[in-house]
Symmetry: D2
Subunit: 147 residues, 4 copies
């Protein structure tokens, strides 16, 4: 539960509710695990996303992508590896890897835009940018998610 070379690690256990009748985790739940990954990364940096919203900022998604590499099963303990990617103006990108032990089960990214509470793009708060920049430069999926 810390940063290793700019990678933040956190764990979730796959819930029964997240499986489907194929017996594997349904595809949309990976986006929820990404949410858990970036929320815990921010918390580790001392940034509560809840507080960020109380300060009037929101960070909705502008884009996402997932590659499903191997089945994720019920009750698996997953490690969500999260990295801060490019930041430019109001935009920030996060990269993710979903692992079970040493196995990478999925990779993905989310693109976000800093907005005010009316969903209008805004300049992100300086302290947030600095903190996120301080952990940039990791190496998850630098090529395999590039577009």
């Amino acid at each position: 539960m810390a940063f290793i070379n700019g990678e933040h690690h956190t764990n979730v256990r796959v819930r029964y509710s997240e499986t489907d009748r194929m017996g594997i985790a349904y595809n949309s739940h990976f986006l929820v695990w990404f949410e858990v990954g970036r929320t815990e990364l921010l918390r580790e940096l001392g940034l509560s996303y809840r507080e960020l919203e109380q300060r009037g900022f929101m960070l909705p998604l502008s884009e996402t992508g997932v590659k499903y590499l191997k089945p994720v099963l019920y009750d698996d303990v997953l490690t969500i590896v999260t990295r801060v990617g490019n930041m430019a103006g109001a935009r920030v990108r996060m990269d993710y890897e979903i692992r079970r032990s040493d196995d990478t089960l999925a990779t993905g990214f989310t693109g976000h835009v800093f907005t005010d509470s009316s969903l209008r793009p805004v300049r992100p708060p300086k302290d947030v940018v600095e903190l996120m920049n301080s952990v940039r430069g990791g190496s998850i999926s630098a090529e395999d998610e590039s577009e």
Copy 2:
């Protein structure tokens, strides 16, 4: 898609995302179908729940109950039968039946409280009470959900 003896009928098709690895619909989604049932009942009465919120009223749940009678399967076309139950002060109860053709697969109810946008209980708007009262008196599960 109309009222038959105070019962409102609407249909949903079971999504893959709503199944679990048992091969049946996961238990929590029934509450979402109840939401669809009461929303469409209100719409049939000329009440948009979205507009009700714009007028400053909300209708959060205070209670719910579900009886799961037979498995609900992927791609099933379900009929959600909804009835307005007791209304008293800020409180209203809705009763539900989930059917596939003539088969009742589940029954349930939700208890709600009319609140303002700060979640404080309020007197419900008169036009809403009158409209809901106008279709009360159906007979779904009058006894099997009694507590």
Copy 3:
């Protein structure tokens, strides 16, 4: 994360995906948290629900009920308190409380039936019954969920 007078405690943090536009946790997710509670209770007893299914047993819901007492908010750390309730034949009941610190935000129960993998009720495995019986007798909501 242990039993205190027959009560099992485990924690979840409320995800953004679990909130709705009222700003509170949507009603159906409480059933998912109940799932987490009973799964972790069983695990604490040395019973993996995943393994139980591999042995050919399933434990689908026959019934559930929830009372929503106070709003559950984004990013709240919830304690799920779970107790084994009545057991009779193929049936077992679990009782739950959702707490934030000392505040009880919701109470509920689930009724289950032990079945084989074809969803036919079966006599539950003796070791499972004995283990579950060994922690029965707690006191959550003994009256407020009674029907």
Copy 4:
């Protein structure tokens, strides 16, 4: 609810359960609407995905991507526009657009692999390939999702 130049159109209404505390639809539900889109496209072709699974074939996701262009709101009636994209060996791609009236709110794609019931890639059934090929060649987001 038919094909127009290789595009299949179907509608969903945004559920309260699909909103989040930002007041908009949470990002993961778009993947569920994509599921609805491709399922109804197949049904329009005379192919029930449920039957396809009964014949021993599954179509899990290998990849997905979404661009969120404008907020999707509670109770919105969305048109899901779905197209069959490239097919090669066991792989098939589907493209999507989420519209509200003439407004495009999101675009996306899913990549799938035909597998047997053990999730091993297999040659897709010939009738399925022929039917899907018969509606290929539409023009949704031919460039904006290219990678």
